[in-house]
């Protein structure tokens, strides 16, 4: 087997490997170097990760299983020091690897304006996960400000995502209008208006003079003297191919590594692919040509003929609600004519540029449904003189066809490109559908259409609808419920970004279709509001399920169960006596629970205030056995009694319970603290479980022992009890601020990734913020609801009227 070494695990090199293994899994033994400590992920989806619409896990394109299955030797987190072409070896930090064929996929790095202060902490690019995490972190501080330098595709996606995270965002752009390479002025204006409507400040013709700060970025100063406050500065002004290694290896390098149409460099056994490549004077930044290159290189490596050619490109912006499309060339010229359509009220603008009866450019804003049709006219060089009068209205108006929304897709020729990222045309997709791929996931698996950036998902779904007719049921975009079109994550984000602090504000601003929600959305919205605005919003009992409203668990016969707190599972004679008395007085069945407490079952609603009052008198409070909040902290007897106990697990359990009780969370939270690794408190299947060891405390999170059974994953180790408590409190607050209502911690962690959770909780500054916000919330919500209801709401537990003694006439 020949040895193939690939330097750089980016989108292009990942795609090369995919094609290679698909065509001939046994052709090469592959070693993959990556300076980033991880494998291939979909870099163009970092914007949705930044905005929180996707998690890192969702954008990973190749995971460990994939590398394992294909026998790829992964050397991630290791930089390549040099390439010795004479000996045919790649020299990594940890040793040499010989190659028969070598592929450079070193990509590009962000261009950083070399102004004073550009190297201050807090100045980031928007290239990789580290940048994304830095931005997310900065956005966690309330009122944080971001300055984005560069109003191109990347800069605007970053700006929109940071704004969605609630930051105050200013975009600085050197040119007269945004995205000047893709948009003309009119479309640039509409885009600017849309962004400003979302609360993003846009400054054009703004030249950065200097970045200031004491040890960290604080201000951005412009040439005209304007000073902007900034907690983070994002540089998105352009990219620079990474060619240093290739240059040092003696390969032909111009602006980037020079290759021929087979992706071969000046050395016949060395190839290059992606953003580090220069071909016929062109550099490449968008994903579509990179994928084309990958296809060509895979064939070349298998000694098959294939030629790379530069194609026309189209652009879409991945900012929800900013609909723009541009393709081709739209500079003005003597021989060029424009067709323009405007609808100011709807914010629609379309411009077509014609030359010699052929379409050469198209810019659209507000309504981009026909973009792909225009793009195929440009690529094919179709003579449009016959349809010139109605051309701008799109394919639906050609040949008198009806204005059915699907007709535009139906009218596309088979070779029209639907998925620009992966170069998939309509014919391929239709053939796959007819071959049995009847839904989006299987179609993506088979053709890769809409599997990268996803902006063509709508078109692909329309093709499914056109091809399958009534046989296709569009997947519901999982909104919270029928009352709105938004997902839980969107609702949470918008509540923060738009500062919505009441239920009516949410219903109005987020377009609720019902008067005041329903039993599905109201409890969720109520929780989101109280979690984000503990001081401004008041919990609404009418948006709570019965158990949380009545502070007891309703049973199948309409009676309730009452369970007082037993801190850390400890009780005493006095409490037990009061429980026994209450059981007798109210006719309760008595059950010892798995959470180390005692449950009194069969209490009538009318009796609830009375039994609470009796238990309060003995010093007991609600155990919240009914709430989406802290339930129990199960403990073992620890070093107090046990000959194996390493720490005071009971005491830690009690202190944790006293700190956390009363807080509302997205779903219930159960804790366990075991005094030694024998783990008698079964801490390793709790939402948060601590196992004490001689050297301190092992803190695990995301366990489950219900519908799913799952062992906790290690969040951190703490040396002291105070540190352990801090980490737990910060974790709970992070969960409260970010999880979807009714997601237990393990489900939430599966979505956002344990790495992200760790990064937040382990950062001292972020942790301090989380703890401070938790304590603010506890100042409002940590009180005994039983005592409160006994005093203020006792009457509400009795019937309003009793007519059973009156004669019914």
């Amino acid at each position: 087997m020949q040895k193939l070494v690939v330097i750089g695990a980016g989108m292009a090199s990942g795609r090369v490997l995919e094609h290679l293994f698909e065509a001939d899994p046994d052709a090469y033994e592959v070693t993959l170097f990556n300076a980033e400590p991880r494998g291939n992920y979909n870099r163009i989806m970092l914007s949705p990760v930044l905005s929180g619409e996707k998690s890192y896990g969702e954008i990973v394109t190749h995971d460990d299983t994939w590398y394992g299955r294909n026998d790829v030797t992964c050397r991630f987190g290791e930089k390549v020091v040099a390439v010795d072409r004479a000996r045919k070896v790649v020299i990594g930090e940890n040793g040499e690897v010989p190659y028969d064929k070598l592929v450079f996929g070193t990509g590009s790095s962000a261009f950083i304006i070399p102004c004073p202060g550009h190297d201050l902490p807090g100045v980031v690019a928007f290239r990789d996960l580290e940048d994304t995490s830095a931005m997310t972190e900065a956005s966690a501080r309330p009122g944080a400000k971001a300055v984005v330098i560069g109003g191109g595709l990347l800069g605007l996606e970053a700006a929109a995502a940071l704004r969605l995270r609630g930051m105050e965002v200013t975009v600085l752009h050197l040119m007269g209008h945004l995205m000047e390479r893709q948009l003309d002025e009119a479309a640039g204006y509409l885009l600017r208006k849309d962004l400003e409507r979302r609360g993003i400040t846009v400054m054009t013709q703004a030249s950065t003079k200097e970045i200031r700060g004491q040890g960290r970025v604080e201000q951005v100063v412009l040439e005209d003297g304007t000073v902007l406050e900034a907690d983070i500065v994002v540089m998105a002004v352009g990219i620079r191919p990474q060619v240093q290694l290739a240059k040092e290896a003696g390969l032909a390098v111009g602006r980037a590594i020079q290759v021929d149409a087979q992706m071969r460099t000046s050395d016949p056994d060395v190839f290059a692919v992606g953003e580090c490549v220069e071909f016929e004077g062109h550099l490449f930044g968008l994903v579509a040509p990179l994928y084309d290159q990958a296809k060509v290189l895979a064939k070349t490596l298998l000694d098959e003929e294939e030629t790379f050619a530069v194609k026309e490109l189209s652009t879409k912006l991945k900012v929800t609600g900013c609909d723009l499309f541009s393709a081709g060339d739209f500079a003005e010229g003597d021989s060029r004519e424009d067709i323009v359509f405007r609808d100011p009220a709807r914010g629609v603008y379309k411009r077509l540029v014609l030359e010699d009866d052929r379409l050469v450019g198209a810019v659209m804003y507000g309504d981009t449904a026909d973009g792909n049709w225009f793009f195929s006219l440009i690529k094919d060089g179709t003579d449009v003189s016959g349809m010139r009068d109605t051309l701008i209205f799109g394919p639906a108006y050609q040949g008198g066809a009806s204005a059915d929304p699907l007709s535009a897709v139906a009218a596309l020729p088979d070779d029209a490109e639907i998925c620009g990222c992966n170069g998939v045309c309509k014919g391929t997709i239709v053939a796959a559908i007819e071959g049995g791929a009847g839904d989006l996931p299987s179609l993506r698996a088979k053709t890769k259409a809409s599997a990268s950036c996803g902006t063509c998902t709508g078109l692909v779904e329309q093709l499914l609808a056109v091809t399958l007719g009534d046989g296709y049921a569009a997947p519901a975009a999982q909104p919270v419920c029928g009352c709105c079109d938004l997902t839980h994550e969107e609702v949470r984000r918008l509540i923060r970004a738009k500062e919505l602090k009441s239920q009516p504000a949410v219903w109005q601003e987020l377009g609720w279709k019902t008067v005041n929600g329903c039993h599905v959305c109201r409890p969720a919205v109520n929780f989101y509001l109280l979690a984000d605005w503990p001081l401004e919003y008041r919990d609404d009992p009418q948006s709570r399920f019965v158990n949380e409203r009545n502070h007891a668990n309703i049973q199948k016969d309409g009676t309730y169960s009452v369970m007082p707190r037993m801190w850390g599972g400890m009780t005493d004679a006095n409490e037990l006596r009061a429980i026994a008395d209450a059981a007798e007085k109210y006719g309760a069945a008595v059950k010892v629970t798995g959470g180390q407490r005692i449950d009194l079952l069969g209490i009538r609603k009318e009796d609830l205030p009375a039994i609470w009052s009796d238990l309060n008198d003995a010093g007991m409070v609600s155990g919240h056995a009914y709430s989406k909040g802290l339930r129990t902290v199960k403990t073992c007897v620890g070093s107090d009694w046990c000959r194996f106990g390493t720490q005071d697990s009971t005491g830690l359990g009690i202190r944790l319970e006293k700190r956390l009780w009363g807080s509302w969370t997205p779903h219930k939270v159960k804790l366990g603290v075991s005094g030694c690794p024998r783990n008698c408190a079964e801490a390793t299947c709790k939402d948060i479980g601590i196992v004490c060891v001689d050297s301190g405390y092992q803190i695990g999170v995301g366990g489950a022992a219900g519908m799913d059974v799952k062992e906790v994953e290690r969040l951190a180790e703490a040396a002291t009890e105070a540190e352990a408590i801090d980490l737990v409190v910060a974790f709970v607050q992070l969960y409260r601020e970010n999880a979807k209502y009714l997601d237990r911690p393990y489900r939430w962690i599966a979505k956002v990734g344990l790495d992200w959770v760790k990064a937040q909780v382990l950062d001292p500054e972020v942790r301090a913020g989380l703890i401070a916000r938790f304590d603010i919330s506890q100042s409002v919500y940590q009180h005994d609801p039983w005592a409160d209801h006994v005093q203020t709401r006792r009457a509400a537990y009795a019937p309003l009227a009793d007519l059973s003694l009156e004669a019914a006439e």
């Binding site: 019902t514 008067v515 005041n516 929600g517 329903c518 039993h519 109201r522 409890p523 009992p541 009418q542 948006s543 709570r544 399920f545 019965v546 409203r549 009545n550 309703i554 199948k556 309409g558 009457a795 509400a796 019937p799 309003l800 009227a801 009793d802 007519l803 059973s804 009156e806 019914a808 006439e809």
Partner: protein, 109 residues
């Protein structure tokens, strides 16, 4: 018609409920608006859930046990579920809630 004063409007919280006991079983009072109250049988025909413990939304209530939703104007179960709860005439006068007990007698007959 025979209206009986059963309590003050303000004793029923907005989008909240209260219970009225009668010889013929419990009646739920559902306050759907500032000055709008409905009265209906409190027992869900599905598994007997107490509807006064449900969440009130629009002019509907969701049973707390298994999420069956009832229209309080007609008593009809919503969506795919079948079933009906009896509704009773109720009105508000000078901040007091009045229930028509003739309807109760009739339903007994």
């Amino acid at each position: 018609m025979s209206w009986i004063d059963i309590g003050a409007l303000e004793d029923v919280p907005l989008r909240g409920t209260r219970l009225v006991k009668t010889k013929l079983g419990c009646i739920g009072l559902f306050r759907t608006g500032e000055a709008e109250v409905f009265a209906a049988s409190n027992t869900c025909p599905h598994k007997g859930g107490p509807l006064n413990e449900g969440i009130v939304h629009g002019r509907r209530v969701t049973c707390p046990l298994h999420n069956m939703v009832f229209d309080l104007e007609t008593g009809a179960a919503q969506g795919a579920d079948e079933g009906r709860i009896e509704t009773f005439p109720v009105r508000i006068e000078a901040g007091r809630i009045l229930l028509d007990v003739t309807a109760l007698a009739r339903s007994a007959a």
